[in-house]
Symmetry: C2
Subunit: 119 residues, 2 copies
């Protein structure tokens, strides 16, 4: 993967937020610095970075969101405002007993509910 300014800016922007944005949000943000950047470039780089393991793709509600934080953690999604919050891995303990003969790779946990702001 050869260096590109656009990909670097995308990675910087994604790492600078905790909002788990989608491609459109990133595109809008990048256009401030790169007014001619193409939406295709955003999608291409999001896919490359995901495949390289530098970012994580989250799938909530049939559109992809992205997370620049690749350290293990879980998510909380508010059913009202659709915001996605992080849950530190230390706040959850998961105990598996019946997954016999299944080789566990990653654990994906999403708590759906209502966040403080929306109550």
């Amino acid at each position: 993967m050869r260096y590109s300014r656009q990909r670097e800016a995308l990675l910087d922007l994604l790492r600078s937020t905790k909002s788990h944005p989608d491609a459109e949000w990133l595109y809008t943000g990048l256009r401030k610095e790169y007014p001619n950047i193409s939406l295709g470039t955003v999608y291409r780089n999001l896919r490359q970075l995901t495949e390289a393991g530098e970012i994580i793709e989250l799938c909530y509600g049939n559109i992809s969101h992205f997370d620049g934080d690749i350290s293990p953690h879980y998510h909380m999604k508010c059913n009202n405002c659709n915001r996605i919050y992080d849950i530190p891995i230390s706040s959850v303990s998961i105990n598996l007993s019946g997954t016999d003969n299944f080789e566990v790779d990653t654990i994906n946990l999403v708590i759906n509910g209502t966040c403080r702001n929306c109550q």
Copy 2:
């Protein structure tokens, strides 16, 4: 919601399998009994049944899968064959401590890894 033969057949088909199928699979299956059924009908009824809480919509990899089993349980997804397996709720114990002020509605847990067949 008025009765319809097509919706009833869809519900029967979905409840008869543990494969967590997508719309296309259900469409293909229904065409054996209803050769003229429309794909739009499948989608319309899947949405209605989901909204009515009679089935559950699962989102893995940007295409919707459906589950006729609405009793609480979790899922295991094989990264190799993409099959989705059920995990009984009794096999997992989840302990939340840091979700302060978040009103929990549902818990969505997916274990990604390699199933017995694919090892």
